[in-house]
């Protein structure tokens, strides 16, 4: 099944200069139903009223200079001839008998394969446009944009990078898991960037009550060494993604996001779930690639007893800027959230962690915990970590912690004293640092892929240059 957007003009318009006509033409050319076109136009009206993020005006962008890192003059990417692209193997290709796999390339859904057994049992995986024209139209219409700037859901997002996607999303993927269907095999969605421009992928996944599903979102491509750049920091590829997940009562949704973009990508991604009564949302992200990444794993805990477990790792090396901002909104009572992110940095790199937890006045009995740890391996790397709590309700249990440090000299000495060479010891310590997150990964192939990526990062490191904290403090001297 293939859906493509035909280019509407000969000279591609830069993102910054989009007009209502462009939004309208793209929607019409793709044969979208009128409600969908209207929704895009509404989002575009919002877009017109907004400014691009500004570190001085917007608290959430304070540590990520949008104007320096993101090129908004890039044109919208045009779909490529499917025959001509060679796609690298990703972790989705190694999943054991997946329930479905989807390949998105340069703004178009290239292929969708759904396992027949799962399809017979009611699992729907199709392009968002096909879904909007088929039996699932009602579901799509109800939920598309309900967690962002359009629709009638819980959240309105004021960020222009989100209304951009709402108005102009190109490759859309829709997943529907009917009530009580437990899809035990994972669904893999691979998104490739092989050409310069603005890529606007969209995912809407709806798990009905007591359903179960695992989504693997993988981002690849983006090594375009010959593509022109507006400046040294601005990449020729911008991927601006929105993923919406609706977890109905007592459903269980596992989202796994693996980003192994090449160096030529700025990746902005909102991956937001609405968790209804007693639903559980797990989110794991591995942020490894790309020049600039701003990842927002968010969960609105909308129903009593809902749970959210966002976790992730990141490993930044020379020239990378990673900004990870989980946001948990406790709207309903007795919900639980537990946030854990661990990151390592080396070379001239930067990591920003801003964790947000909001607890509404009505959300009595909330349990929330939020932790971030950063390991600075070499000189020149910098991590800013700030866990925020905004609490309007007294009757809750909340904890948070944040720490940024170097390799502990005591750990290094202990392992070396047992015969391990310095590099062996450092390797074990770094892997050990990540282990607390890695051991929560439920799919073995994802764990292996993450481990291999971390190993590659360690191989890149100049282990002679690794900073080690002073180890004298509590060594006994009698």
């Amino acid at each position: 099944m293939t859906t493509s957007t035909a280019p509407t003009t000969d000279t591609p318009t830069s993102l910054d200069a989009i007009t209502e006509d462009v939004v309208l033409d793209r929607s019409t050319a793709a044969g979208e139903p009128s409600w969908m076109t209207d929704r895009r136009l509404a989002a575009f009206k919002t877009w017109l009223d907004q400014d691009w993020p500004n570190r001085r005006a917007d608290e959430y962008w304070r540590n990520t200079p949008f104007d320096r890192l993101v090129d908004v003059t890039l044109p919208l990417v045009e779909p490529v001839d499917a025959e001509c692209v060679e796609l690298a193997e990703g972790v989705v290709d190694t999943l054991e008998s997946p329930a479905a796999t989807v390949t998105v390339v340069d703004g178009a859904v290239l292929s969708i394969r759904v396992d027949e057994d799962w399809a017979d049992r009611g699992l729907v995986v199709e392009s968002l446009r096909d879904a909007a024209a088929g039996p699932c139209a009602g579901v799509v219409s109800e939920h598309l944009g309900s967690l962002t700037t359009t629709g009638t859901g819980s959240g309105r997002d004021e960020d222009r990078t989100i209304s951009t996607n709402d108005a102009l999303w190109d490759a859309g993927v829709f997943v529907h898991v009917p009530a009580e269907l437990e899809v035990t095999a994972p669904i893999g969605i691979q998104t490739y960037a092989t050409r310069p421009g603005v890529h606007l992928p969209r995912v809407l996944a709806v798990a009905e009550h007591h359903a179960r599903v695992t989504l693997v979102l993988e981002h690849l491509g983006g090594d375009l060494p010959d593509a022109p750049r507006a400046s040294r920091n601005k990449t020729p590829v911008l991927v601006d993604e929105v993923v919406e997940v609706i977890a109905r009562d007592s459903s269980f949704v596992d989202v796994i996001s693996v980003n192994e973009h090449g160096d030529d990508v700025a990746f902005l991604s909102l991956q937001k779930a609405g968790a209804h009564r007693d639903a559980t949302v797990r989110h794991y992200s591995a942020t490894l690639g790309g020049a600039t990444v701003r990842l927002r794993p968010e969960v609105d805990l909308l129903g009593p007893g809902a749970s959210a477990f966002p976790s992730g790792i990141y490993f930044a090396d020379e020239g990378q800027h990673f900004d990870v901002q989980p946001y948990m909104r406790h709207i309903a009572p007795r919900a639980t959230s537990d946030v854990l992110y661990k990151g390592a940095l080396q070379g001239k790199s930067r990591a920003v962690f801003r964790g947000n937890v909001y607890v509404a006045r009505e959300a009595v009995g909330t349990t929330t915990n939020e932790n971030n740890r950063n390991l600075i391996l070499t000189k020149g790397a910098r991590a800013d970590s700030t866990p925020f709590l905004e609490i309007e309700c007294a009757d809750i249990t909340a904890g948070h912690g944040s720490a940024t440090g170097q390799i502990d000299a005591r750990h290094l000495f202990y392992l070396q004293a047992r015969g391990l060479r310095r590099e062996q010891a450092l390797r074990l310590i770094v892997l050990g640092f990540f282990n607390e997150v890695l051991e929560q990964i439920t799919l073995p192939s994802i764990g292996e892929r993450t481990l291999a990526a971390i190993e590659r990062e360690i191989d890149l490191a100049d282990l002679d240059q690794v900073n080690v904290s002073a180890g004298r403090v509590d060594t006994p001297r009698d």
Partner: protein, 246 residues
């Protein structure tokens, strides 16, 4: 020549001279006890032998099999056969105990021991020291009780088969049963190929591990040496009268 020979060693920590000329010989097959009050420099000697970077050797030498090892890294010393059982074993979060042990054993042997053979030896060592199977699922020293940490040190000693072992207050923090199990574990490893230096404050571990020689350290120097009877004397009279002469 002794297996480990310490000649007039002086060591500085954080700008302070702690060891002020220590000479000590440890031969294979022998057990030496090094006793002394807190702050006398016993642990400094242990760390200096193991090569801790914060312990600066400012004079003298440490000879192992006739070679001066003062410039060697801690891992080189261990692979050559020098082992330190630490007073406060370090928790290394997230590092799988089994993976660590296997890496350490392979490093010491400089070859890859087949997994099956390694696991066999590990299980034997575990049952000798009354260590539970669940240990295999844990991280290095993470969440271990004081006694578990000490047992784990001796377990590593059993697997790494050193030629010289320095046991830094291995008895501290152990209850009677744990002390017996750990001491018996060490005793099982003693033999003609191993020299042991037992560093302790009290004599109770020496009831299980009868030393060939006892040395008393005070103020960074060895102030008295003798046979096992010296330990009993210390038990009775304490260190006070050495303090006067030192």
């Amino acid at each position: 020549m002794a297996e480990l020979s310490i000649r007039d060693l002086t060591v500085r920590v954080d700008g302070t001279d702690i060891l002020k000329g220590v000479t000590l010989d440890l031969e294979k097959g022998k057990t030496l006890a090094l006793m002394g009050p807190n702050g006398s420099g016993k642990s400094t000697l242990a760390y200096a032998i193991a090569g801790h970077p914060a312990y600066e050797v400012t004079g003298g030498e440490i000879l192992f099999k006739g070679e001066d090892i003062t410039e060697w890294t801690p891992d080189e010393r261990n692979r050559a056969g020098v082992f330190l059982a630490m007073q406060y074993p370090v928790e290394v979060p997230g590092v799988s105990l089994t993976n660590f042990l296997r890496t350490a054993v392979n490093a010491r042997l400089e070859e890859d021991k087949p997994v099956r053979e390694f696991m066999g030896e590990l299980r034997t060592a575990m049952s000798d020291l009354d260590v539970d199977e669940s240990f295999l699922q844990r991280s290095v020293n993470e969440g271990f009780s004081g006694g578990e940490k000490k047992r784990f040190e001796i377990l590593q000693m059993a697997l790494l088969r050193p030629e010289v072992a320095v046991l830094d207050e291995t008895d501290s923090g152990l209850d009677v049963d744990a002390l017996r199990i750990v001491s018996e574990g060490i005793d099982r490893l003693r033999g003609p190929d191993l020299g042991v230096l037992v560093i302790t404050h009290y004599t109770r571990i020496l009831r299980y591990l009868t030393p060939d020689e006892v040395h008393v350290m005070l103020g960074g120097r060895i102030v008295a040496s003798g046979g096992p009877e010296l330990a009993d004397e210390l038990e009775e009279h304490g260190y006070e009268h050495y303090a006067v002469s030192a």
